[in-house]
Amino acid sequence: MYKASLLNEKFAILNKSLWLPIISVVLVIALWGAISQLGGLGKHVFPGPATVLLAFNELFNNGELIKHSVASLYRVTVGFYLAIFLGIPLGIVLGLNRTLSDMVDPVVQFLRPISPLAWIPLAMLWFGIGDKPAIFLIFLSSFFSLTMATTVAVKSINPIYFQVAANFNFNRAELLTKIIIPAITPDVITALRLTVAVAWLVVVAAEMIAVQSGLGYLILDSRNALRMDYVMVGMIVIGWIGLSLDLIMQKFSRVKWTAH
């Protein structure tokens, strides 16, 4: 008896955490359908879920959707990796060298709050049109935050660990691989997670200018063709991919050496 009721309770909890999100999604879609039907704006201005589903099917089957998604993901990936491979090492150097960080920090601090979108004119002038300016903008959107976050993480390493390294005669390579990198990993992963979200926001905006592909371009092009159903498909896919990126980063962000 007792066991059975306990089991039931478990199922109830399981059901709850499973059903509540589904219910809310269904509700939102229903609401969306109702507004599009009753709002009086018409199918071309405010397409409902059924119209968008059809459009999705169409864009998926003719390969457009995949082509544009891949184009966007490609730019984010390249820009993001560039930022990682330049920003993290730079952050480590700055974190270890006080003189250098006193010199570079103000510059980074100043450039960081400038929206990457403000760089668009220069990016187009310097890199022309195509992937390059978009990648450059993604890079900018991640680079400064990653550099700063890494610098701060290195500066906040417990000095005891450096004393341990000195005590056991670590060389430079060992100091890097056995102390610095493991110590900053949790903070850097958190920064990566925030950065990838921003990069994904920026890529869509960047693609509205200067390129002929990508989800941002799909949205802009569909608007010009007055196909709001395509616009909505683009938005939904952007949401999905953004969510997936975040979930992937979340998977990585479980660092195994702290209690929490």
Partner: protein, 264 residues
């Protein structure tokens, strides 16, 4: 082989704080604070010395200087005739807070001091030997956070001892342990000292620890600190303060010296 001489050590810190440490604190930012004022000490080989002193008097600072972590001071530290200029893997420091690397297992932490050994079989044997010594067998692959406070401290002792250091520096090694674990780890350190016979310099603010463990007690005064007293303890171990009247008297004397007049 280690005969440590400390000659005329004076250490100043530049006060970086804007806020006062206490209501009576008159120090200003940028001001030089003298922490150690002309300290002269000698340590015999194999000796177990406990350094006592009020909180903030500079005990950790002194120990860090002797160990070569801090080279920004006036005076000289000479070990075995050589001037100390940097930290050395023959003199291991056990830290006041946890000094285990939290991203490495107990095994990997103990391996740190032995990582350059060529013969891996011998290395593994040695790692295991010291893990066994501190009774952590079965926990080799645990990460530090998966151990209790006392086990962490023992793991750090194993890491320090595994390199068979000439000198062991212990900075309040029992801080943060519950009373019972404190006594257990303390007993372990006493046994280890008896077993390996190496020089140990321990900083503590527990007078009882010093009385139970030390061959010699050194008391530092309040900041700027100088040596207020050094006393040899010729009592056999294990020691019991309640049974040995001389030891009890010494305890009262030390308490008085540190400004506590009433001792239960």
């Amino acid at each position: 082989m280690s005969f440590i001489q400390i000659k005329n050590i004076t250490k100043n810190y530049t006060n970086r704080r804007r806020t006062k440490r206490s209501p009576g604190d008159a120090s200003k930012a940028g001001e030089l604070i003298t922490v150690l004022d002309n300290i002269n000490l000698e340590f015999e080989e194999g000796e177990m010395v406990c350094i006592l002193g009020p909180s903030g008097c500079g005990k950790s600072t002194l120990l860090r200087i002797i160990a070569g972590f801090d080279t920004d001071f006036d005076g000289e530290v000479i070990i075995d005739g050589d001037k100390v200029g940097s930290a050395s893997s023959e003199h291991i420091f056990v830290f006041q807070q946890n000094g285990l690397l939290p991203w490495m297992s107990v095994w990997d932490n103990v391996e740190l001091g032995l990582r350059n050994m060529k013969d891996s079989e011998m290395k593994n044997e040695q790692i295991q030997e010291y893990i066994d010594l501190v009774e952590l067998n079965g926990f080799e692959h645990n990460l530090p956070y998966q151990l209790s406070g006392g086990m962490q401290r023992r793991a750090e002792l194993a890491r320090a001892l595994a390199v068979t250091p000439d000198i062991l520096y212990l900075d309040e090694p029992f801080t943060g342990l519950d009373y019972f674990t404190h006594l257990k780890v303390r007993e372990e350190v006493v046994n280890i000292h008896e077993y390996i016979g190496k020089t140990m310099i321990m900083v503590t603010h527990f007078i009882e620890d010093a009385l139970v463990m030390a061959d010699r007690i050194i008391i530092l005064s309040d900041r700027p600190s100088c040596v207020k007293m050094t006393r040899k303890l010729d009592f056999s171990r294990p020691r019991n303060m309640n049974k040995n009247k001389d030891l009890g008297d010494l305890r009262d004397e030390i308490f008085l010296m540190l400004g506590v007049s009433y001792v239960a």
